[in-house]
């Protein structure tokens, strides 16, 4: 377990938490002020920055030690960080008066389905690894 939670994964998660909080602030503010364009821009920027975040730390992780499966571990971390912050946003009543927590639950539910598919893939490829390293990528 300790080998799966690497320094790069922790840095990625920290960056995800910061980006998600900024995204939530932008989103709730835009919704409160009924700024549709700002809502779209917030989501687009959040998506782009998260892509750079994953790409940067994912590459670093691969170059340091390609522990299987980088994609799934980063996906799971994003899922947990994003949804936890979203729920806490409502718990601490930071949300806009037009927002409904049901949307968060539905998003989490749909996302869970994709995460399970990814997990099935992860468990299947894990069989072709030795100590969580891809057999094909072990020796050069």
């Amino acid at each position: 377990m300790k080998t799966l939670i690497t320094p790069n994964l922790l840095k990625f998660t920290l960056a995800t938490i910061i980006l998600t909080i900024i995204f939530r602030i932008g989103l709730s503010t835009s919704i409160t002020n009924k700024m549709t364009l700002a809502v779209i821009l917030c989501s687009v920027f959040y998506g782009i920055l998260m892509w750079f975040n994953g790409n940067y730390f994912g590459r670093k992780e691969y170059e340091y030690l390609p522990i299987y499966d980088i994609g799934f571990r980063f996906h799971l971390s994003t899922f947990l960080a994003h949804n936890l912050i979203s729920i806490l946003w409502f718990v601490f009543a930071f949300e806009s008066k037009y927002e409904n927590i049901k949307i968060i639950y539905i998003t989490t539910l749909i996302w869970s389905a994709f995460l399970i598919i990814h997990m099935i893939y992860y468990l299947s490829v894990r069989k072709s690894s030795i100590k969580n390293l891809d057999k094909k990528d072990l020796f050069e």
């Binding site: 340091y64 030690l65 100590k131 072990l138 020796f139 050069e140």
Partner: protein, 119 residues
Amino acid sequence: MAKNILPDLLSSWEETYKKGQLTLWIFLALKDGQKYVDEIKEFIESKSKNTINCEEQSLYRNLRKYEHIDVVSFENKKGNKGPDRKYYFLTEIGTELLEKFIERNIKLFFSTEINNLLK
């Protein structure tokens, strides 16, 4: 016509042939004795007569993987100057792995029949 493409063909074949050789050279360097990364690099380049060139980054990456799967380990020793150096060595399983690999893949080149063909 064939004469003109010979260097390209040779370099293409060599490129493919060299892929997968780095592990063997690293293991041979460590079989020769404990070494730190610069010494491994020097060993590989000199013993392969510069046919195998390896970047330090690539060596570190490979050594981390071998360490992770317990075929290589290291101990910290004082360098001439500066911080301690990691001196890598083959573990018991690493030594056994190298022996088995050589037995199955390298020694066949030393049979009289193949040796004659290589002459």
